[in-house]
Subunit: 198 residues, 2 copies
Amino acid sequence: MLQISALEKLVHELSKLPGIGPKTAQRLAYYVLKNKDTYPEKLKEGLERVQAEVHECPHCFNFTDADLCIFCEDQNRRNDLVCIVEEPSDISRIESSGVYNGRYHVLHGALSPLEGVGPEQLKLKELMLRLETEEIKEVILALDSDLEGDTTVLYISRLVNGKGIRLSRIAQGIPIGSDIDYIDERTMGRALQNRIEI
Amino acid sequence: MLQISALEKLVHELSKLPGIGPKTAQRLAYYVLKNKDTYPEKLKEGLERVQAEVHECPHCFNFTDADLCIFCEDQNRRNDLVCIVEEPSDISRIESSGVYNGRYHVLHGALSPLEGVGPEQLKLKELMLRLETEEIKEVILALDSDLEGDTTVLYISRLVNGKGIRLSRIAQGIPIGSDIDYIDERTMGRALQNRIEI
């Protein structure tokens, strides 16, 4: 990086972003430099506004800039249905499907003994409180299809068991529009097991 | 973006970065949010240091945080050889080849009538001044292999013509390690024209 320490520092920080390797970070830093009179100020403003305005919804732990997030605030959503997600960003995926009309609960992660993420690091106590105090009849687990997601599904299913609450996990199978040729063996196995009679 | 205006602003700013589309920008913004207590402050610091410390070298227009850039400062480089590049970032590519030991001159762009970039937007007057006042014997054009690069090569070759300065452009041909199958027709045409006798 041409031995400019300020530039190296910026590249270092940018390369912490997900999916941004050192080469991309260098390209981004040069963009910042090329537009030094306008861009850094605007990006800083964006960062500052997020720092100042965005916080977790105290009810479902989605991000919000209000007292409650828009999904907790919404009067037209079912109160007896809660969808559990790992991250706030997962909510927009579910919303974009247009088939869900209940509430949310964000865990902020998934159980991972390897990375030292235990139940106390997730919003699980807060989930139990909701299950005990709200009239929730059904819980949908929309967690990632990986080891951490599977572990968390197992853990939550034990917590919810015996409370008279319906518990389900979103279906695993081949993605719509995908070519069978490109489906991995585990997904195909799951798709066969979970086949739907027509 | 879940109707949080501060988050939308941040996504908007991040998506201005080269190669960062709206989806990636959203992912980056969520990373910022997830690490709201530590990351934004560090990135802001990186931006501020670049704003405060980095400027153009008054001699070659490379970026630097000193009076002159490291290549203008270096006593062990040839003074009679100048390599012209479009952007400061191009210099590190040339340096990494390890075969160049002259000075640099950064144009900060290339001629593009379509985008309204004329000679006066580039560091061409400054280049002419160097060619007139310094004892430069050879100029190497290391510009992009695109329309803008070609236009700029033509323009500079007219400027330099008749000054008794050797002018060359870096070779165009097939990249080393590349598969002939994947070479586009124009590159192949150029590689054939520029074939080297062995």
